[in-house]
């Protein structure tokens, strides 16, 4: 009897470990707004993420790297070979202080996952989202979208609501009261694969922006 319960406990632990394993792999996302149509490669390993856009954003060739658990993030400027800190802790605080409370809708199949629909209807906008509990993600992959206007904040906050509910956001669309699409982010493909820790480090030879400024200011004396 004792052996039976010991085996059951071991089996339960093993199963829990398998299903609680955090996602590691590469997703491709598409961002659409009135002025922008861009895709990005999202590298995820546990609570670390690197998001590399296909096209430059506002003339800047760069990408963010974040560690969600540590609440730290940097933006790497590829051409200039420096990086600067981004206020990830402030961005997380923003979406947690002003949450978007989505209501659960029906079920849907999306990218081979069993996904759930979520909706929110407000006076000035409507949000539709899709998320799945079949992916264990340890971060909000759309935390940075809040920088792009009010619609961006709604996307970010909706994704955060899903993340906090242990649901991986797959698609979020914001509409105006007329039903016109204002902004959307969606995962178009996702692939599990092992990633090196080096993928989430500052590239070799890159300096911190403050060091570059400090050095140039010293010269200007």
């Amino acid at each position: 009897m004792r052996r039976f319960f010991a085996s059951l406990f071991l089996l339960f632990t093993a199963v829990s470990l398998v299903f609680s394993e955090e996602f590691e792999g590469i997703a491709v996302g598409r961002f659409l707004s009135k002025d922008v149509d861009n895709t990005m490669k999202i590298f995820i390993k546990g609570s670390k993420m690197k998001m590399v856009p296909e096209k430059q954003i506002s003339g800047t060739n760069g990408y963010p790297i974040v560690d969600f658990r540590a609440r730290k993030g940097i933006f790497v400027f590829v051409d200039e070979k420096y990086y600067m800190e981004i206020p990830l802790d402030v961005m997380i605080k923003n979406v947690e202080e002003k949450p978007v409370l989505l209501s659960e809708g029906g079920d849907e199949k999306y990218l081979g996952f069993n996904a759930k629909k979520f909706v929110y209807s407000g006076k000035d906008f409507r949000i539709e989202a899709l998320g799945t509990g079949e992916l264990q993600i340890a971060l909000n992959p759309f935390i940075g979208v809040q920088r792009i206007g009010n619609e961006g904040f709604l996307v970010s906050a909706s994704a955060h609501y899903l993340y906090k509910s242990s649901i991986a956001p797959l698609k979020i669309v914001v509409y105006n009261p007329k039903g016109e699409r204002l902004m959307s982010v969606e995962i178009v493909s996702i692939q599990k694969q092992k990633l090196s820790d080096r993928e989430f480090e500052v590239p070799e030879g890159f300096r911190r922006f403050s060091e570059v400024v400090k050095e140039r200011m010293k010269r200007g004396r």
Partner: protein, 230 residues
């Protein structure tokens, strides 16, 4: 015996080694307008300097050759002056703290020593810098002290754009320019916009010195500087 050897080897291993050597040449034009104490109505000055330096870990050495060419107007007469200086200096930097010691020889005769203590504080996003500074300099005329604090905002564009707003309080002690004076001479406010490309710097500065003693005239000045990394 083995333990002793291990300790010797550990002591010989460098903690970290970094070496950099760089050169820099700059040209600056400065125009000052004042009419008392120095007894000039205005003065324009062109400064050319070449800097060569190297750094190992937290210590650095620098050598500069500085040439000042000035044109002054005194009661309608044009006066020209030229000074050449050779400066050698060393600095110690750790994190955001910097201590510099410099010695300059002007025209082969006049010695000028300077000690600077700088500290940099960066905001969490690296965009805002606050840097208090103390500079003590000494030459045959006396001792002068500068206490300043500068706030700057930098934008990570190409070029990097920095707006720097320093305020400094100057004091003089001893026989300065043949005047026995000890105390605060004035306050300088000197906002500056700088553009930093990869090898080229461009700065435009407009300042005003507020004389706090009748011995020291207030005067405005404007300065343009271009620097190129060698």
């Amino acid at each position: 015996m083995r333990k002793g050897l291990a300790y010797i080897v550990a002591a010989a291993l460098p903690l970290s080694v970094g070496f950099g050597l760089d050169g820099y040449i700059s040209l600056s034009l400065m125009d000052r307008y004042y009419d008392r104490f120095i007894n000039d109505s205005s003065m324009s000055r062109v400064k050319t300097e070449v800097i060569v330096g190297g750094k190992v870990n937290s210590f650095g050495l620098e050598a500069r050759i500085i040439n000042y060419y000035g044109v002054g107007v005194n009661f309608g007469r044009l006066l020209y002056s030229e000074r050449v200086g050779i400066e050698v200096g060393g600095y110690f930097e750790v994190d955001n703290f910097s201590l510099e010691l410099r010695n300059t020889l002007w025209d082969g005769v006049e010695m000028y020593d300077e000690v600077r203590v700088l500290f940099y504080y960066f905001s969490s996003t690296d965009l805002i810098t606050v840097s208090p500074r103390m500079c003590v300099s000494y030459d045959f005329r006396g001792l002068s002290v500068d206490l300043s604090i500068a706030a700057s905002v930098s934008v990570p564009t190409t070029p990097i754009i920095t707006l720097n707003i320093p305020v400094s309080l100057s004091g003089i002690f001893g026989n300065y320019r043949e005047v026995l004076f000890s105390g605060v001479s004035g306050i300088t406010l000197s906002p500056r916009i700088s553009l930093y490309w990869k090898e080229v710097d461009l700065s435009i500065e407009g300042g005003y010195f507020f004389g706090l003693n009748q011995l020291f005239s207030s005067y405005p000045y404007v300065s343009l500087k271009v620097g190129v990394e060698l």
